[in-house]
């Protein structure tokens, strides 16, 4: 034993380890958590998203991604690209400005922070004097105009951030030219908007919060025009030719103003309250886009009638007689329009509306009739319903891949066929080495299939299990079915829908056989569905069976939820995975483990009460085994009464997390009602915490006993063709491991293919191993005569794996949360073990066999165990000798949901949730590394023609 604890000093092995293992966090998939700002460069065709944690992410053509993080971790308030440059400026909520630039380095572009700056007023001035409210990067690329709360507009030089004090535009200077009677000093408080004249770079439009709008001549340093709005101003937008601009207001109105040389004090041409006459909410941003046919597009955010639709997050598009209010399920952060960026073009000709909502990115095609949404190739909202489990399948055969894509494309017909409009930069990453699928199970009973091969996590297909069951929610109850003349003309867009009709539908376990296309999913109410991939729509009856896992045990009462009601008669299923068998466990407890053997046509499932084996060919239950300890009352009563302490500890850990967030938020300060509320919440939380910390946290030290609760909880199931009874004959077997450290092995007799339907599958318990340390069994694995893990079902049949060595003696590896143990087979004697918890105090949370290839030679690869511990460390442990190879810190140990969500791939990569909506991808392998590699070139700026970038073809291919 001691030999295995000593760190290896074999220099050859040490060198090999360097060729095999390497830890990298490579890319973040999904939608940024808590986005707070949006920016777009029509020049680079790149979009930037800032978050409340100070991250900034740039996206262009699929695969073109950059990420930066502000050291301060403060909320990004505004993002502005410097015109015609690979640079952008961010404004944080601590009033600091940061200059970022994209620079090429070693063949790829990198996003780096160049400079930072905080505007400082004269000593003694109030902080509002320098609180930046509006930022205008001037087209000369040399200066930034910074509008402030005080009404002063400061000019800073780029990239040095030097304040050009002589060029400051003070309210006094502005007021000089304006008649006293309708203006005073207060009219010039708080700069709401700064807009450069589209044709004349020497003129900027300044909008003050109280409604005064001034056209300022930079050359002569004077106001040439002024416009007096009666309403509080929200935003401004120039018409393309600079003859008119549009302003939007707090009362839900917008006005058009003419700019002509003869009239220096214009009245609005038109003043409209689009959703009047009743009081409306503010229109916070507006676009005026001209088109060839003369009808402009007016696109604005907000403005809904306050009383009836004040809670909607909407963006309205008006084009002639067409008007639609796109209704988002989460708050709109910001939006922009992609239009012709060619300065010589006469019209804007908008092509797409890009909306950043709090939980998703929605792009609307404005060119196609009906304004359909565009399917985004990245920034997928993973959490459109909360993720409940994940499953990764590597190296998908092309045939299955194509069938899944084809099933998915039938679901996506309502999407626009427009190529992805944000297509800046060039993806130079090599093609992904293989086709990988990531399957996520969701709370609403859906399974989503993601293309996880490359940098862009892309939704291929969505499967819903809801149709099999009768739920309270009527599937026809759709919010989109509003009548034709409904006003306002709301249209629900986006996929984010966090509300689950029935929590029992939640998916808990997924198993996909990539060779046969069989899929098994299991859920919260003990339901197990076996499905088959069908390329056509079909209507059929789902066979239904019940598995009573308690097996006549007396005196037990399930107090948890009821089982799901099934639909009688045939059900219509769309093309894709269609269920043909439903097994419902009784009691309907959460399914905790699942295994599918597509060659033997068997599915095994386990709950906290026991496990069962179902023959999905003959549609017959083969056996059930109750694993419950007679004294374990808790497990029987169901989730309502169970584990109060767990609930409590969960709540505590959430509070702890929240406290860390709150304290970081507190530093930001800032005005406004919302932050006051936050402050109050923070104080409350703090008080609660202090109260809690008075009682010392203590932990009970007690050996686990057989009588502990949830010892019967089935943690893992495993099919193996191995030597269970004697060393001369191998047979199919099913292995199950429980929370109480028990391993059950069943010998199976599966009839040969020609009599598969005639003879029943038989099972007989052959072994039961009780680990004396009684820690939960989290993994079971059989190693063949060459100490290689047995191949997956059908892997050998498809010539994708060597057949296992059935000559030498097999070994059984049992992984508990605390130890790794190797036993001989068929006579079980202990051979090796590695004690993890006793030595390091950490416990195994996830374990998988992964294949590691050497980056130096193509012909060397080995299988090791990839292990994630409860401390968030990843360890690689060699097979079959169980020597610790290497350890990397990966996830913070407080990040319980991150650790729980981790999945490993078969080739040493992995994913875990860093927020409800984002997967972090990491790699342990030197060979398989999926990370963004991309270049952003400076398009030529001298010509007036917009250079169309090669990235467009990429976009077309991906979307």
């Amino acid at each position: 034993m001691r030999r295995f604890l000593r760190p290896g000093h074999d220099p050859v092995r040490e060198r090999l380890k360097r060729d095999l293992f390497q830890f990298n966090k490579t890319v973040e998939h999904g939608f940024p958590h808590q986005p707070s700002a949006l920016g777009y460069s029509p020049f680079l065709r790149l979009m930037a998203i800032g978050t409340r944690s100070g991250a900034i992410k740039l996206y262009g053509a699929p695969g073109v991604e950059f990420m930066g993080l502000h050291e301060e971790n403060n909320t990004v308030m505004q993002i502005h690209f410097i015109p015609d440059q690979c640079q952008l400026v961010t404004l944080l909520d601590d009033n600091s400005l940061h200059l970022w630039s994209l620079k090429q380095h070693g063949g790829t572009s990198e996003l780096r922070e160049e400079n930072r700056f905080t505007l400082k007023g004269p000593p003694g001035s109030p902080p509002s004097a320098t609180q930046v409210t509006a930022v205008l990067p001037h087209s000369s690329r040399e200066v930034l105009y910074l509008g402030t709360e005080s009404g002063n507009i400061f000019v800073v030089e780029l990239p040095s951030f030097r304040v050009l004090e002589d060029r400051t535009i003070t309210p006094e200077a502005v007021l000089q030219r304006i008649p006293e009677d309708n203006c005073n000093r207060r009219s010039c408080e708080l700069v709401e908007a700064l807009r450069e004249h589209p044709k004349n770079p020497d003129q900027i439009l300044i909008g003050y919060s109280r409604g005064l709008i001034v056209l300022w001549d930079l050359q002569n340093n004077k106001a040439t025009h002024h416009f007096l709005g009666s309403q509080q101003l929200e935003n401004l937008y120039w018409q393309r030719d600079g003859s008119k601009f549009i302003s939007c207001h707090y009362d839900g109105s917008y006005s058009q103003w003419p700019v002509s040389s003869d009239n220096r004090q214009a009245e609005p041409l038109e003043n409209t309250v689009p959703y009047g006459p009743f009081p409306c909410k503010a229109i916070s941003k507006i676009y005026w886009q001209t088109t060839k046919n003369g009808l402009p597009y007016i696109i604005f955010q907000g403005g809904m009638p306050r009383a009836s639709y004040g809670d909607r997050h909407s963006i309205s598009v008006i084009h002639g007689s067409q008007q639609t209010a796109f209704d988002f399920t989460s708050r709109v952060i910001d939006f922009f329009i992609i239009f012709s960026s060619d300065p010589a073009a006469e019209f804007d000709d908008p092509s797409a509306l890009v909306v950043l909502a709090e939980e998703e990115l929605v792009v609307i095609d404005l060119k196609s009739a009906g304004w359909p949404a565009v399917h985004p190739p990245y920034l997928a909202s993973l959490h459109c319903s909360a993720i409940t489990c994940s499953h990764h399948v590597s190296n998908i055969p092309l045939k299955l891949w194509e069938r899944i894509i084809s099933a998915g494309s039938k679901q996506n017909i309502h999407y626009s066929s427009m190529p992805w409009p944000i297509d800046g930069g060039t993806n130079i990453a090599p093609d992904p080495p293989q086709r990988d699928l990531l399957l996520t199970g969701h709370e609403d009973g859906t399974v989503r299939f993601w293309d996880a091969s490359g940098v862009c996590l892309h939704l291929l297909y969505k499967l819903s299990t809801v149709r099999v069951f009768l739920t309270d929610a009527d599937p026809n109850d759709n919010m989109n079915t509003l009548g034709e003349d409904e006003w306002p003309p709301l249209r629900k867009v986006g996929t984010f829908d966090p509300y689950s009709d029935d929590p029992r539908l939640g998916i808990q376990k997924i198993y996909l056989c990539k060779y046969s296309g069989y899929l098994a999913v299991a859920g919260t109410a003990g339901q197990v569905l076996v499905m088959e991939l069908n390329d056509e729509d079909a209507e059929h009856v789902v066979d239904h069976a019940e598995a009573d896992l308690l097996q006549d045990q007396e005196g037990y009462r399930w107090k948890g939820h009821e089982k799901l009601k099934t639909r009688d008669g045939p059900v219509r299923f769309e093309a894709g995975f269609q269920p043909f068998v439903l097994v419902q466990c009784q009691p309907p407890a959460v399914v905790t483990s699942l295994a599918l053997h597509s060659e033997w046509r068997l599915v095994a499932f386990g709950t906290s009460h026991g496990f069962g084996l179902f023959d999905h060919q003959q549609k017959r239950l083969v056996f059930v085994k109750c694993t419950l300890h007679p004294s374990d009352q808790l497990a029987l009563e169901g989730p309502l009464s169970r584990v109060k302490s767990l609930k409590k500890s969960l709540r505590q850990s959430f509070r702890r997390i929240r406290r860390s967030r709150v304290s970081s938020r507190k530093r930001r300060g800032g005005g406004g009602n919302a932050s006051e509320v936050q402050e109050a919440n923070a104080k409350f939380d703090q008080d609660v915490l202090q109260e809690m910390e008075l009682a010392p946290v203590q932990r009970k030290i007690e050996a686990r006993s057989a009588e502990d609760s949830f010892t019967g909880f089935v943690r893992t199931l495993y099919f193996a063709d191995t030597f269970l009874r004697d060393s001369s004959r191998h047979c199919p077997s099913l292995w199950a491991g429980t929370n109480g450290g028990t391993v059950y092995a069943f010998c199976l007799r599966v009839p040969p293919a020609e009599r598969r339907m005639d003879e029943p599958v038989r099972a007989e318990q052959a072994k039961e191993i009780q680990l004396m340390h009684r820690a939960p069994v989290v993994g079971i694995l059989v190693l063949d005569g060459r100490s290689t893990p047995l191949p997956e079902p059908l892997e050998v049949a498809h010539d994708l794996s060597k057949s296992p060595d059935m000559q030498g003696s097999h070994q059984l590896l049992v992984v508990s949360e605390e130890q790794f143990k190797v036993f001989t087979l068929p006579k079980v004697s202990s051979k090796l073990k590695l004690k993890l918890t006793a030595l390091e105090g950490c416990r195994v949370r996830k374990v998988t066999v992964a294949n590691f290839g050497s980056c130096k030679t193509d012909d060397y690869s080995e299988n090791d165990l990839a292990v994630l511990t409860n401390l968030g460390d990843i360890q690689i442990i060699s097979l079959p000798f169980l020597k610790l190879q290497i350890r990397y810190p990966c996830i913070r140990k407080e990040d319980v949901s991150g650790i729980a969500s981790c999945v490993f791939t078969k080739y040493g990569q992995g994913f875990y949730l860093i927020s409800p909506s984002e997967f972090e991808r990491f790699s342990l392998s030197t060979k398989w590394l999926v990370e963004p590699r991309c270049v952003v070139d400076m398009p030529e700026v001298t010509t007036n023609n917009h250079v169309h970038k090669p990235g467009t073809e990429n976009a077309a291919r991906k979307s």
């Binding site: 034993m1 030290i701 007690e702 318990q765 052959a766 072994k767 004396m772 004697s829 918890t837 105090g841």
Partner: protein, 347 residues
């Protein structure tokens, strides 16, 4: 009856041989006897295995006084700490048992027949302020019965005194193993778990380590109450005064760490039930390369656990009749070949 004979001090041989010799000398070949001797402090101590036999021989100065009692009517109370001084004359007890007839007749087996429950170990290598306690959960139904918490303790560091986070015992469950041993107390600071330092580890980590080691838990504590510490090199503790010339350097507490890991192998066998038959312990596979190492380890630990369990309790036992005592003279003191680790058991 008295016998006097000589023995080669440098080569005392095995206990079995010595036992045979005694039976031969006393011409009682088929009578089970208890063998005891008086050590230099006047305590009557048993000889029942190689270790204490060697110890007895090596401490003979130069005369080793041996007492032999018939096993069935042995006076166990005769053994133990301070026996010779407490009882004015053990011999008189032994020879004139009639004086003590009033005591109740309880049969309690020999100390080696008891399963150890807890022990203080490594007294000779630990600083005096520390205590290493071993709790044997195996085989008892008693809960371990204690709780730990976070806290802070003061350490001497190169920068002076510093407050550092530590793990402390926060509660003992009444009737639990931890409480019944009396070796652990509330507010004792936990320093090591099975040879692994806990500094830098979180409460949860230490909890997991203790639970993972719960079948053979060895915790090193700094007792909150430092007055009951085992004081080395003195006789007051009555721990029969072994290890006076401990050759091991002190304050190397990790020496046993890896040994203990190996030791655990033997007492934690998983159980297998084949074809619904009887549960059995899973044997160790013995591949050629490993067998010798693991075997020798087991041997080693066998010695260390067997060696020198001494009764320290006072029990009411009946006294013997018909005992035999004997003296013999050992030759010149030879080199002390054996070190002992000062193990005490508490019953």
């Amino acid at each position: 009856e008295f016998r006097r004979f000589s023995l080669e001090r440098s080569k005392p041989g095995k206990f079995e041989e010595f036992y045979g010799l005694l039976q031969h000398v006393h011409k009682i070949p088929n009578v089970d006897v208890l063998v005891g001797y008086t050590d230099i402090h006047g305590d009557l101590l048993p000889i029942n295995n190689d270790d204490n036999y060697h110890k007895a021989v090596s401490t003979a100065n130069p005369l080793l006084r041996i007492f032999i009692q018939r096993k069935e009517d042995a006076d166990y109370s005769a053994f133990g700490t301070d026996t010779m001084t407490r009882k004015k004359n053990v011999l008189s007890n032994v020879l004139r048992p009639d004086n003590h007839k009033k005591k109740p007749h309880i049969v309690i087996s020999m100390p080696q027949d008891f399963r150890p429950v807890s022990s203080i170990i490594d007294v000779d290598i630990l600083p005096e302020t520390h205590r290493r306690v071993r709790l044997y959960k195996y085989g008892t139904d008693k809960p371990l019965g204690f709780y730990i918490r976070d806290g802070s303790s003061v350490r001497v560091t190169p920068h002076g005194l510093e407050k550092v986070p530590g793990i402390f015992i926060s509660r003992l469950v009444p009737g639990g193993l931890a409480q019944s041993t009396g070796l652990l107390a509330v507010n004792d600071e936990v320093l090591e778990v099975n040879g692994i330092e806990v500094s830098g580890k979180s409460l949860d980590q230490v909890t997991d380590m203790m639970i993972a080691n719960s079948r053979n838990l060895i915790i090193t504590v700094r007792p909150a109450n430092q007055r009951n510490n085992v004081v080395r090199n003195s006789r007051t503790s009555g721990s029969s005064g072994q290890s006076t010339e401990s050759s091991l350097p002190s304050s190397t507490p990790n020496i046993l760490g890896s040994l203990l890991q190996g030791e655990e192998e033997s007492d934690e066998e998983d159980i297998i039930i084949e074809d619904s038959g009887e549960p059995q312990q899973i044997p160790k596979a013995t591949p050629a390369s490993e067998s010798i190492e693991s075997l020798s380890q087991i041997e080693l630990l066998h010695e260390s656990t067997q060696n020198g369990f001494l009764p320290s309790s006072e029990m009411n036992l009946n006294h013997s009749t018909g005992s035999i005592s004997m003296e013999y003279e050992a030759p010149e003191p030879g080199p002390k070949s054996l070190e002992e680790d000062g193990t005490i058991i508490t019953l």
